[in-house]
């Protein structure tokens, strides 16, 4: 056995070897065939599929965000603009330890606690894959310092972008509003409007004010760039480019100087003011005080500032001009008088004897006049000039609440004015039907009595009262109030001027109007409730003071400003237009807790008129040290009986 193995057969061995070699060659050929099949499958059969994948790999569509449109006043003064600057942005999804990265960044760049807080807030609201700013408006020095160290911070980058800025700060905050980072609600809204694609790449959207109302004009059209990108997502070259179209520029009817004068005129008072050109509805000034710094909101407000703004008793975020609802007080009287004339309930010459109170037939309840001893003999003219309450108690009862509702509604009370700002409230003009609906109660005669002097259920916004005043000034012809005068195309400067045409004509009797206007002029003359503020004006002012009660005064009690805490004092109203014969400006001024309209609100109106009609700039006021001292000063200035 063993021998047979030792005697090897060379020939047979080579035969076996070559057999195995042949098998190997077969093995090789089979595998090569397998490879070849695979190549044919990938490169011929599935070629189109992989071709698409390769294209998708390399082409990225990059949106180019358009420049947001500017907002200018009627003279071209900038109210909102963009400036370029640098932000330091972090992409949280690329971070392993966010906090330590920020700590390290803070060693290079000034990052404050409030920056961190704001960043945390943004982070909570954001989706993880977008980059979020930790610091805005880096200095050149900071940019250079970061650039040198940027290799240490993957996922952190300096970005050049445009910042929004509102140079007038809190002076125009309630009017211009602000933009802010797009949040989930905004995204939902954009998707519903089918405009989400135009916001690809955009981080900001108008949140309030004109920025919100005119978002579609201001945003512009997003451009598109098809980029060839490498695996790292870096652009290599541009394949196609559709430039963005800048947002349109809004030219407002607002006069920035007038706005500033009005804002200063308020001193430390809270309140609101709306001034309108009655001939076309252009809003010339729009104040709600206090304002806030809209620039804080753009990149997300920090926690502390937010809490402060929200918890302030002054509610600076409340747009008083547009949304604040106040009793009309005596400013209702000219309109009531018109209603009396219209319904034939009062002739101009009809005279009452005012004992200082009004009592319903068969009731001992006294509705007091503001003047305890009464105004004596009062006709319609005098009723407006001295603001006689007794006259209007009786008139209201004779008119009835439904006639009052029908007539006053024509001037826009209880309805939206339609101004081009979102968020307007409608105020309230009561009627029998309304009370039934709202309180499930019938209307009482007593309700009508207090409604007659604007102290009932009725509520108005300063915007509405200014609108009504403008209608009256323009003899019953109403123009929709608006802030935007022209829309300029972002790139070509083509200008669109929205058509201004009267919305309605109340067809008031010119004699009635003339009477009311002459009485309102007398209000500003010696003997009228706003005589002091109007003294020496080289043009005639038609006005009416008013007081809106904050707390009710019990029967037999006397209103005493000095005994009430500041916030319980009456709100002061003043409505006015000038020049009285050919009005160019009409306005409503509300001074919260200001007390008497003639003493506090009318001087503000006077400053606006002096500037608007004469170009007179009031001397710079040295602001009193604090709000309280401001109030004290007016108290001293207020003569005791001059209450309306």
């Amino acid at each position: 056995m063993k021998r047979r193995v030792e005697l090897k057969n060379n020939q047979r061995e080579i035969y076996y070897f070559r057999l195995r070699l042949a098998l190997s060659i077969g093995f090789v050929l089979v595998l090569l065939f397998l490879l070849l099949s695979r190549f044919i499958y990938l490169q011929i059969i599935k070629h189109a599929h992989y071709q698409t994948l390769a294209e998708n790999n390399r082409i990225s569509v990059v949106p180019i965000v358009p420049n947001r449109g500017l907002i200018l006043d009627r003279n071209g003064v900038i109210l909102a603009h963009n400036y370029s600057g640098y932000t330091l942005e972090i992409t949280p999804s690329k971070m392993t330890d966010l906090d330590s990265t920020i700590d390290q960044l803070a060693q290079l760049i000034d990052i404050q606690i409030k920056d961190r807080k704001r960043f945390k807030k943004l982070l909570a609201e954001s989706h993880n894959f977008e980059s979020l700013p930790i610091r805005n408006q880096l200095t050149d020095d900071e940019v250079a310092r970061f650039a040198a160290q940027s290799y240490r911070f993957p996922g952190v980058e300096v970005k050049a972008r445009l910042f929004r800025e509102y140079p007038y700060n809190e002076k125009t905050s309630h009017l211009i509003g602000y933009i802010g980072r797009i949040n989930d609600t905004d995204i939902q809204q954009l998707e519903d409007d089918d405009s989400a694609s135009n916001y690809r790449g955009s981080d900001y959207i108008g949140k309030t004010g004109l920025e919100q109302s005119y978002e579609s004009e201001l945003h512009g059209t997003t451009g598109v760039q098809q980029m060839e990108v490498d695996a790292g997502g870096r652009g290599v070259r541009v394949l196609s480019h559709t430039p963005p179209v800048s947002g349109n520029t809004l030219v407002l009817s607002l006069d920035a100087k007038l706005q500033e004068i009005a804002d200063n005129a308020f001193g430390n008072y809270r309140g609101a003011l709306v001034a309108i050109d009655p001939n076309n509805g252009e809003v010339l000034a729009f104040i709600s005080r206090p304002g806030y710094d809209p620039n804080l909101f753009i990149d997300g407000i920090d926690e502390d500032s937010w809490t402060e703004l929200n918890n302030s008793p002054d509610v600076p975020l409340n747009n008083r001009a547009l949304r604040g609802q106040y009793p009309m007080g005596s400013t209702i009287k000219p309109f009531m008088a018109l209603a009396g004339l219209y319904y034939g309930k009062r002739a101009p010459s009809y005279t009452i004897s005012d004992p200082g109170y009004y009592a319903l037939a068969g009731s001992s309840h006294h509705y007091r006049d503001w003047k305890k001893e009464g105004h004596g003999m009062v006709d319609m003219f005098k009723s407006i000039v001295v603001s006689c309450d007794t006259y209007y108690y009786g008139l209201a009862v004779e008119l009835g609440i439904d006639n009052m509702y029908n007539f006053l509604s024509q001037f826009g009370f209880g309805k939206l004015t339609g101004i081009d700002l979102e968020g307007e409230t409608s105020g309230l003009m009561p009627s029998q039907e309304w009370k039934m609906k709202r309180y499930k109660q019938k209307w009482y005669a007593g309700d009508t009595v207090s409604a007659g002097i604007g102290q009932g259920y009725d509520l108005t916004t300063p915007m509405q009262l200014a609108f009504a005043t403008a209608i009256l000034a323009n003899n019953g012809i109403g123009y929709r109030p608006h802030l935007v005068r022209q829309i300029r195309h972002g790139d070509s400067n083509d200008t669109v001027v929205p058509e201004v045409k009267p919305e309605f004509n109340l067809n008031l009797n010119p004699e009635h109007v003339a009477l009311i206007k002459s009485a309102m002029v007398a209000v500003t003359q010696p003997g009228g409730t706003a005589a002091q503020a109007s003294a020496g004006a080289p043009y005639s002012i038609a006005g009416k003071t008013g007081t809106a009660q904050v707390v009710g005064i019990k029967q037999g009690e006397k209103y005493n400003a000095s005994q009430l805490s500041e916030r319980n004092r009456d709100h002061a109203w003043f409505i006015a237009f000038a020049p009285a014969d050919k009005p160019k400006i009409a306005m409503a001024v509300l001074v919260e807790n200001g007390g008497h309209g003639g003493a506090v609100a009318a001087p503000i109106a006077r400053k606006l008129m002096d500037y608007y009609l004469l170009g007179k700039v009031p001397p710079p006021v040295v602001p009193p040290a604090n709000a309280h001292s401001g109030v004290v000063a007016t108290e001293v200035a207020q003569p005791e009986p001059e209450h309306d």
């Binding site: 063993k2 193995v5 030792e6 090897k8 061995e13 076996y16 070897f17 070559r18 195995r20 070699l21 190997s24 060659i25 090789v28 595998l31 090569l32 397998l34 490879l35 070849l36 695979r38 190549f39 044919i40 990938l42 490169q43 011929i44 599935k46 070629h47 599929h49 992989y50 071709q51 994948l53 390769a54 294209e55 790999n57 390399r58 060839e228 990108v229 490498d230 695996a231 790292g232 290599v236």
Partner: protein, 369 residues
């Protein structure tokens, strides 16, 4: 003494042991490799020149080996094998870790990768063992030879370096196969391998398991482990029949392809030259392998037959595994495309193998005379 012109004589002497056919085939492939490398490095000369340097060194090594008669080389088998094993054990104990694997050994002057040495040493050792026991081959000898193979493979797989382990296993298996391992044993081994697959699976590193899972469904982790496979397939598939043209591959030049100068260089080639280019490349490989088979078939001794067959089939294995993994039919194991991928060590190892083939072919006649 007849005086002859010096140069032609020297040239004849220098080229005496260079097989012209194999040399032509190798040159074509090497030049192709340099061209693809130029594209894979975004048309920069740096790596191309470095690779040209690697090729020069490797060709010199090949020439050197081609001039050594194989029976001299056979004598180095045992010392080389033992030395290699010592180094491998050294790596396992003191090796340097790079990219999560312990493959390199720092010997003071340089770091070396002993597994590369074993690519030559293992088949050489096994072929020598069979040659020595040629007259009295029994099953026992096959088992011992298998042990010679499995020891280094186990050490290399543990590093972990699956690619090299697969290649050395293949080269050793080819020796066993060509040495006439009986079909029955091979069948038994195959069944045993299948049975032990779950055990082997559990011994694999997580990343190796991942790579195998990715082959089954690369899209499940498109940006992670499946990225290589997916981008490779996209490159090959988007190449189409004619390819995107030299230097025009988007997958390549926009950085989508990973490791495109080394393991994935075939994807670069395939994207830019298409199916037509692949056919030509396959043709070059077939040319080289075919010539290897001719040399094997004509080898004069048992040792040289085993050695030549193993070298040829291992070369084929390299090419198949690489192209298979790039085109997505094999898991991603670190196997370069032979003679094309950038890298000096594998170039030297491969051309040393071809040097042996040339030596086998050209010394055969000398032995006979």
């Amino acid at each position: 003494m007849i005086k002859q012109p010096l140069w032609p004589q020297l040239k004849r002497y220098l080229l005496l042991h260079i097989d012209p056919v194999l040399m032509l085939a190798l040159s074509l492939l090497l030049v192709t490799g340099l061209i693809v490398l130029f594209s894979a490095t975004d048309a920069s000369w740096g790596r191309v020149m470095a690779q040209a340097g690697n090729i020069t060194v490797a060709l010199f090594c090949m020439w050197l080996v081609a001039n050594i008669p194989l029976h001299y080389l056979m004598r180095t088998a045992l010392p080389m094998y033992v030395f290699g094993m010592v180094l491998l054990i050294g790596v396992a104990l003191f090796g340097e870790v790079s990219h999560g694997a312990r493959r390199w050994l720092n010997i003071g002057v340089a770091t070396i990768q002993p597994s590369e040495l074993m690519k030559i040493a293992v088949p050489l050792m096994m072929a020598r063992y069979f040659e020595k026991n040629e007259a009295t081959l029994t099953l026992k000898n096959y088992f011992f030879a298998a042990l010679l193979l499995l020891l280094p493979v186990a050490l290399i797989a543990r590093q972990p370096d699956l690619g090299t382990a697969v290649l050395i296993s293949a080269s050793g298996f080819y020796v066993l196969f060509l040495a006439g391992l009986s079909w029955r044993v091979m069948g038994a081994l195959f069944v045993a391998a299948l049975a032990s697959a779950p055990v082997l699976w559990s011994m694999l590193h997580d990343y190796q398991k991942h790579r195998i899972m990715m082959l089954l469904d690369p899209s499940q982790d498109a940006l992670g482990k499946g990225y290589h496979t997916i981008q490779g397939m996209i490159a090959v598939g988007s190449g189409g029949f004619l390819g995107k043209g030299f230097l025009n591959g988007t997958q390549t030049h926009l950085d989508f392809l990973p490791e495109r100068t080394t393991d994935f260089i075939f994807a670069v080639f395939s994207e830019e030259f298409g199916l037509l280019g692949n056919l030509i490349l396959l043709g070059m490989f077939i040319f080289i392998i075919g010539r290897g088979f001719v040399i094997t078939a004509n080898a004069s001794t048992y040792f040289t037959r085993l050695m030549a067959g193993s070298v040829t089939l291992t070369f084929f294995t390299y090419a198949f595994v690489n192209m298979g993994m790039v085109s997505g039919i094999l898991p991603v194991v670190g196997v370069p495309l032979p003679l094309v991928s950038y890298g000096g060590t594998s170039m030297v190892t491969l051309l040393l193998g071809f040097g042996m083939l040339m030596s086998i072919h050209t010394h055969k006649t000398l032995v006979q005379t």
